[in-house]
Symmetry: D2
Subunit: 503 residues, 4 copies
Amino acid sequence: MPIRTGEEYIQSLRGRNLKVYLFGEQVKEPVDHPMIRPSINAVAETYDIANNEEELASAESSISGQRVNRFLHIAENAQDLVLQNKMQRKLGQLTGTCFQRCVGMDALNSLHSTTYEIDEKHGTNYHQRLLDFIKMIQNENYVIGGAMTDPKGDRSRGPSEQIDPDLFVHAVDKDDKGVYISGAKAHQTGCINSHWIIIMPTLRLTENDKDYAIVGAFPVDAQGVTYIYGRQSCDTRSMEEGDIDAGNAKYSGQEALVILDKVFIPWDKVFMYGEYEFAAMLVERFTCYHRRSYVCKTGLGDVMIGAAASIADYNGVPKVSHIKDKLVEMTHLNESIYAAGIASSYQAHKLKSGVYLNDDMLAQVCKHNVTRFPYEIGRLAQDIAGGLVVTLPSEKDFKSTETGPLLKKYLTGRKGVDVENRTRILRLIENMTLGRNAVGYLTESMHGAGSPQAQRIQIARQMQLGYKKNLAKNLAGVKDDYEEPTENSEYFKRVFKINDKEQ
Amino acid sequence: MPIRTGEEYIQSLRGRNLKVYLFGEQVKEPVDHPMIRPSINAVAETYDIANNEEELASAESSISGQRVNRFLHIAENAQDLVLQNKMQRKLGQLTGTCFQRCVGMDALNSLHSTTYEIDEKHGTNYHQRLLDFIKMIQNENYVIGGAMTDPKGDRSRGPSEQIDPDLFVHAVDKDDKGVYISGAKAHQTGCINSHWIIIMPTLRLTENDKDYAIVGAFPVDAQGVTYIYGRQSCDTRSMEEGDIDAGNAKYSGQEALVILDKVFIPWDKVFMYGEYEFAAMLVERFTCYHRRSYVCKTGLGDVMIGAAASIADYNGVPKVSHIKDKLVEMTHLNESIYAAGIASSYQAHKLKSGVYLNDDMLAQVCKHNVTRFPYEIGRLAQDIAGGLVVTLPSEKDFKSTETGPLLKKYLTGRKGVDVENRTRILRLIENMTLGRNAVGYLTESMHGAGSPQAQRIQIARQMQLGYKKNLAKNLAGVKDDYEEPTENSEYFKRVFKINDKEQ
Amino acid sequence: MPIRTGEEYIQSLRGRNLKVYLFGEQVKEPVDHPMIRPSINAVAETYDIANNEEELASAESSISGQRVNRFLHIAENAQDLVLQNKMQRKLGQLTGTCFQRCVGMDALNSLHSTTYEIDEKHGTNYHQRLLDFIKMIQNENYVIGGAMTDPKGDRSRGPSEQIDPDLFVHAVDKDDKGVYISGAKAHQTGCINSHWIIIMPTLRLTENDKDYAIVGAFPVDAQGVTYIYGRQSCDTRSMEEGDIDAGNAKYSGQEALVILDKVFIPWDKVFMYGEYEFAAMLVERFTCYHRRSYVCKTGLGDVMIGAAASIADYNGVPKVSHIKDKLVEMTHLNESIYAAGIASSYQAHKLKSGVYLNDDMLAQVCKHNVTRFPYEIGRLAQDIAGGLVVTLPSEKDFKSTETGPLLKKYLTGRKGVDVENRTRILRLIENMTLGRNAVGYLTESMHGAGSPQAQRIQIARQMQLGYKKNLAKNLAGVKDDYEEPTENSEYFKRVFKINDKEQ
Amino acid sequence: MPIRTGEEYIQSLRGRNLKVYLFGEQVKEPVDHPMIRPSINAVAETYDIANNEEELASAESSISGQRVNRFLHIAENAQDLVLQNKMQRKLGQLTGTCFQRCVGMDALNSLHSTTYEIDEKHGTNYHQRLLDFIKMIQNENYVIGGAMTDPKGDRSRGPSEQIDPDLFVHAVDKDDKGVYISGAKAHQTGCINSHWIIIMPTLRLTENDKDYAIVGAFPVDAQGVTYIYGRQSCDTRSMEEGDIDAGNAKYSGQEALVILDKVFIPWDKVFMYGEYEFAAMLVERFTCYHRRSYVCKTGLGDVMIGAAASIADYNGVPKVSHIKDKLVEMTHLNESIYAAGIASSYQAHKLKSGVYLNDDMLAQVCKHNVTRFPYEIGRLAQDIAGGLVVTLPSEKDFKSTETGPLLKKYLTGRKGVDVENRTRILRLIENMTLGRNAVGYLTESMHGAGSPQAQRIQIARQMQLGYKKNLAKNLAGVKDDYEEPTENSEYFKRVFKINDKEQ
C-alpha cells in the first residue's frame, strides 16, 4: 500500500537497519533522534501538501496512469515544470528549510531523456528499466535521493587518475545478477530520509573512466552503505529542552556523507553502465533542472521577509521609511530569483524521450542570483532585527523564576507585544542567518547544484558571443568582418522561436 | 492601402504639415532632417520585421480579422504577451536604440480593458469606439504614439490645484462634434514619427480633476499641436559628414515636448471623458504592460555585449580571464532582466474585456532591474573597451591625408584588425554609454515607464507582508498573534493558482 | 600592584562575587566556565600585546606620568588615534573575535572632553574626578566596560515617557555619599570580563529626562548588579570535548544584559549628573570614536582572507583565476574599511580639554562600510570554501575508530594535506560566517556602535548640501541663486585646513 | 619672469608653433579655439588657486628655496602628499573636470627617487639633472605634462617584439648633444596645455628593450611633435552659441594623441637612458602616486551631489525620504574614495632620495573604488534629476520668441524657480554623466592611471596571503603547517610600524 501522509511516511522510515553515525556513535533509530527528526518533518510536508494542494503538488502520470506526488512525476509539458517551481516555493514557505526531495525529482527527469538517448545509440534498454522503476516508486510513493557529488580528492585529476580509485564512485565487480559499486558521495541531501538512492556520475568522463560511468538505484538500507551525519550550525539546540532557541524547532535540512562498500545494484535497476560519453549529458541536464529548482529559496525568502516585517512591527517601527524600503528591496531581490526560475520553466522544450527540459541559460541565471541575493536578504533582515538577534539570553533564562521576570521587564518592545513572541521571531531570524537553516538558506544556496563558478562556465558556454558580435558590427558599420557564429548553444534560437509548445 | 514596408512608412511621413521646432527654428521636412532621420529609421524597422519575421512580429487579430503588426495587436493570450517581449528584444538587437512603438501598443491594450470596465459601470460606449479605432489603424497599419506624462509643475499639487491649469492636459471646451484639449506632454517618445497620438491622464485623479480625465486620439498633424525637439547627447554628430563618429549612424530614439492648444478630438475618438475614478486603473494597467516592455533593453544589452566582445577581440585579449568573466557578468545581468520580463508575461491573466494582462509584481521587478543593470553593463563595456573610447580623434582626422596615415600606424591593434573597424566599435560603445543611444540605454532605462521609486511603491503595494508575517510566525511558534492579512494584492493567489490558462 | 600579563588578568577575575546567569542558573566561577572562558582569553590578549608590542599597544600617559595600556590612554595627538586603529587591527588578527576593550577606551576619551566642557559651563568638577579615576585605573591596569545601550522599550517614546521608568538607566536616589541608579543596559560587550563599568546615557535628553543624565563608574561586582549572559550561535560547542568543531576554540566575544537595581556610585565616581544638555555631546563624541574603532574588523577580515586562501590551497586550487580574483576582492573591501578608519584618525582635531577627536564624517563612512563589506567578504569565503563548510561530520566522528578512517580516506584533498588541518580551516570559516564569531564579524559589525541608519543620519547632518549646491550652481552658470550655506558641520573646513597639527 | 596667474598662463600659451590637428585640420591658435579653450581654463585654475589658497596649493621647495606651485613641488613629508589630495579635491570642486596637472606632479616625484637609485647603481648623474630641471620649472612656474601610455599595438608582444618598432617610444639616434626619439603617446592629458613634456616608459622592460628605456623632457613645441586632438562626447556644443547646453561651459578636460618624429632631447634633460631594469620601478612609483591622485574625482563628486541636491530642490522634492537617502549614499561613496586617498598619503614613507611615497596598497584601493563609485554616483544623480536631463530642448529653443515662452510655461517646477536655472542644472548633470565631463568623471575614472585589472594585479601582489594564512592557521589550531611567508610586499610592516614619521 502506498504511503499517503506525512505521518505514514515517518512510520515508513522506522525499523530500517541503517548504519548512521553521529557524534562518533551509531544512531539507533534516526526517526527518534531529536537532531535528525526536524529534517524528517520537512520531508513529511512533501506528502501532506500533495493531499492539501493536490493540483499544485501532484500530477497525473502517464507512466503509472495515476495521480502521483509531483516529486515523482516526469514533466510532460512546460506547465509541469512551472508547477514544480510553484510547489517548491510553497514548501519553502511552509518549512523554512530544505525539504530534500528535489534532487530525486530532477534526477528522474534527467534520466528519462538520457536513458532514451543512450538506448537510441547503443541499443540498450535502460529507458524501459527506468520507466519500470518509476512506475514502482509512483505506486509506493517513495522518497528518492539522488546522489551525484563525489569527494573528488585531488581536483586536478580525473576519476581514473586518483591515487585512491574510490574517490569517485565506480563499479568494482559485476555478475549475472548485477553490479557492485564502491566509493562515496559527499553532503547528500536527505539521503537518510529517502527510501531509494539513485547514484550518478558527477562530471564529464573519458574512455578511461568507463567504470565510473554507472547509474543505478538501490534501497537506502542496502548492505554496505554507511552514513556519517553532517553537523550544522547550532544543531545541538534541537537537543535542548524547549523550542524557542532552535528558532525553527520543527524543520531543518539534512546532509550526510554516504560511503558505499561493494553495494549491489541488480541489473534491472542499472540505468547506465559504461556509456561514459553520456555522463556529461546527464550531468548537464540534471543541473539544468536542479539550478532552477533553487526557486525553493524564494519560499525561504518569503519567511525571512515575513520575519523581518514582524520584528519591525514588534519593535514599533513598521512605518519608518528606511525599514519599509529595506523590505521592498528584499522583496525585489526575492522575486528576481523567482522570475528567473519560472521563466526558465516556461521557456522549456521537449526532448526526444518526451520529457520537457527547462531553459538552460535562464536556469543558470536563476541559480546564480541564488548565490547572491539570499545573503543580501539575510543581511537586511539582520539590519532590521537589531542586535538582540545575537545577544538574547537562553530560553532557560526566560523560563527561570529568577531571571525570567527581569527579561520580561527589560526586553519589552512596543506595547501589547508579548516578549516571548518577540524572542521567537528573533530566534527565527538567527536560525535563518546564522543557525541551522542558514545552512540551507545561505551556504546551500551558494554551493548546492554547483558553485557560482559552475554557473558562470555554463553561461559562458551559452552566451553566443559570435551572434552578438555580429549585431554590434552591423550597427557600427564594420566592414568585411562578419563572423560565422559557431555557437554551441541554441539559446537565441529558443528565445526567438515562435511556438514554444513544440520542440 | 495599408503601409507595408519600412520604406512605405517613411514615405507616409512626408508632406505632413507638422509644426516641429529644433534649435529655435521650424523644421521643414522632419523626414529629411539628418538629426531626426535616425529615429524614423528605427521605427521603420518595426514594419520590416513584421514581413521578415512574421510569426514574431505580427499576429492574427480577432478585431479586424486579419494579420496585423504586433504593435497594433490586442493580446488574446499569455503567449501574445511573451511574443511582444521577444519581438522587443529582437528589435533592440537590430536597432540598438528605442524603436518608439511600445507606448502605443501598451496604451491600446490597457485601454481595451479600461474602456470595457468604464462602460460596464457608466453605460458608455467607449469600448466599441476603441475597437473601431483599432480596426481602422490595423487596416492602415499606422504608428500610434501614447502620450501620458504631463509636465506636472509643482509636484506637491494635483492637476486642478496648479496655478496654471495647463500643466496637465485637460478639456477646455466641447461641442456636438467633440472635445477640445490644451496642455502639454513632456518627453514624448517617437511622437513626430507617429500617425496618431492617444492622449491619457498621467496619475490618479479626484473628483475635482474631472476635466483632466480625458482619453482620446488625434492625428499627429492635428491643428494646434506644436512639437519641440529634445536634444540628446552628441545629437549633432548626425549632422556631421561621415558615419563613424555617430557610433550608430542609422538609428536613434526621439523625444519631444508636445504642446496642445485647443486640439480637437471628435467624439468617436474619445475613450474617456470625466470618469476620473478610472484614471488610476488606466495608469496602473498601462505601467504594468509598459514596465515589462523594457525587456527591449536586453536587445540593446546584446549589442553592448557584442561590442565589448568585439573590441576585446580587436585588442587581442578575448581569452583573458577577467575579460571573459566580465562578459559573463554582463550576460548574467542582461538575462536577469529578460527573465523577469517574460516571467511577467507568462504569468498573465485574462481581464473582463478578454485582453490578457501580464503579472504586475514581476513587471515591476523587471523594470526595477532595468534601472540598475544597464548602467553596470555599460560600465563593464567601458572597462573592456579601454580609454580610447573617449579619446579617439574625429573621423575627419582619420580621413585626412596628413593625420590619417599617422592614426592608422599608431592605432593599430592585434594583427589583421582594420583600424577603421576598431574605431567603429569604439564609437558604438561611446554611442551607447555616453552618446546618443546612451539616452535610450541608460537614462530612459532609469526614467521611462516610471522612475525607480515608482516601481518600489508598486512593489510595496503588492508585497503582502501580512501573508509573509504569518508564514514566519507559524515557523517561529509565535502564539496568539496570527494576523488576518488584508492585502490589496493578489500576487500569491496568482503564483499558486494551478491553471494559468484561465482567469 | 598592577596587572601585568594576560595570565595575571585572568587571575584578577577570580573569586569575585558576580551574579552571572546562564541557561537559567547562576554561574559559580565565570573564569572556569568553558562557554565564557574564550571571551576572557580574548581580553587577556590585550594585556599580552602591551608587553609584546609596546609601542603599538601602550603609551606614555601625561595623566599618570607612566607607560600605560593604550586602551586606558587619552589620545594626546592624532597619531595616538591612528595607533588605536593599528592595535585594533592587530588584536583582530590575533583573536579573530571581539576583544571587548574598545568601548571603555572610547568612553574615557569622550568623557575627557565632555566633562571639561560641562565644568566650563556649570562650574562642576567632573573633569578632575575623571582624571583621578583614569590615574587610578592606569595604575592598576584595569579593564573598563562602557555601558550605553538602554533597552529603550517603546521606541517612539523618550526615557521619561516610558510606562516603566527603568527602561532607561536613571538615578533613583542620592545621599551625601553618592547616587543610586536602576535600569538595565542591553548587549553589553565584555561586561563580565571588566573590572569597572562606566554608565552613560544612550541618546539626546530633554529637560524632563534630568534623572537619566547620569554618568558614573562602579565596580563590576557592585551590589545590585545582575548579568544575564547572551547566547551566541554554536556557543555550546565550547562545552563539547575537543577543539575542532568550535572553529576558534580559544577566543570569542561576550555580550550580556546588565541589570542594575539601586547600584551605588560614590560622588567621586560621578562624571555627569543632571546636565541633560550634554548627553547628546557625549553620545556623539563616543560614537565618533567608536565607529572608527570598527577598524578591528579588518583584523578579522585578514583572518577570513587567510582562511579562504588556506582552504583554496588545501583544495588544490590556489592559482585558479576566479579564486584569486575573489581573494583580491576580499582584500580590496577589507582595506577600504581600514582606509576610512585611519583617515578618520589622521584627520583628527584637538578639543578644548586637550584630547584629540577623529574626523566624524569619515568615522561614519568607516562604520557604514563595516555594515556591508564583512558580509560580502564572508560570502566570498563560503564561496571559496565549498559546501563542506556546512556538512562536515563532528570531531567525534573523526576521532571514532569506526568512522575516523573512512573520513580520512574520503575527505582527503590535495596530496600532502592533512585531513584534520583541512577540517580545522573549514570549521574556522564556519565559525566566522555562521558560528560563534559570526556574531562579532557580521551582526556586531551591523549593529555595534549604531545600526546603518544611525550612520546615515550622521552623514546626512554633515554632508553640507548648501556648500555643494553652490559648487554646482557656479559651474552651471546659475544666476541669482547663490545660497548662504547654513551647515551644522565643519567637515569641509577640516578637509581644507592646512595644518592638521593644530585645532 | 615666472607665470603668476591664470591669465598670464593663458597668455604664455599663445604664439607657440604647435602642430595640433582637430577635425582634419591644423588649429591656428589653440588658445582661441572654442572647443579647446575650456581645457585651458581648467589648467589656469591651478595657477589662481596657488594665489588664492596659498597654503593649500603652494609649498616651500628646498630645491629652489622658494614658494612654488604645489604641482611642481617634491613631497618632503607625508603632509605634502595629503595636501596634494586636498588641493586636488578643491580643484575638482572648482572646475568639475580634469585640470590636467597631476600627471606632471606625480612624474616629477617618482623620478626624484628613481633617478637617485639609478645613479646609486650606475654612477650616472640623472638625479642632479632632474633637480636642475625642477629648479628651472619652479622658477618659471611651468606646466609639465607627463607622457607614459604608448599605443602598444599587439598587446601580447613587448616593445622590441612589435612589427612596427614605433608602437612604443624609443631612442632612434643620439649624438654628443642628445638623444632623438620616435613613437607616440596615446590619450595624453593636457599635453597641448603644457610647457614641457616628460616622456617615460609605460611598462616593465627587458634587456632587449634598452632603446625603450628612455626618460627625458622636451618643450611642447619641439620640432617633430604632432598632436591629434581627441573627441569627447558633446564636444561641439562648446562651439555653439550660448553657454547653457554645454552644461559646464567654462571647463573641460583634454586628451590628445602625441606623435614624436625624431624629437630631440639634450643630454641635460635626459633622466634615464638604457637602464631598462629601472623602468618597472618608475612605473610602479608613478602609478602609486597617481592612483591616489584620483581623489580629485571626489571634488567632481561634490559637484555632482550638489547638482543632484539642487535639482531636487528645484523640483520641489528635497525632503522626500528616498531622495535624501540617495544623497546620503552618494556622499558615503564619495567620502569612501576620499578616505582611501588621504589614508594612502598619510601612511607614506620616505625613500632614499628623501622624497615621500604614499602607501601603495591603499593607493590601489583608492583608485579601484574610483573605477566603481562615480558610475553609481552618476546613476543616482540621473535618478534624482528625472527624465528631462536627456530630453530638454536646445538653448536656442529657449531663446526663440516662438518656443521660448512655451518652454517657460511648461517646464516650470516649484514656484519661484527660474526655468533657465533649472535647465542649467539639468545640463550640468547631463554634462557630467553623458556629456563632455562624463569623459573625466566616468571613463577616465575607469582607465586613467590604469584600468581596474591593473589595480587588482597590484593588490594581488601586496595582499600577503602567507601572513594571513598563518593568522588563520593559528586560530584554527592547524598543526605542523606554518608557512614561512615570502611576500613581496611590506604592507603590514608599514601598517604596524609605530612611527610613521621615519622610513
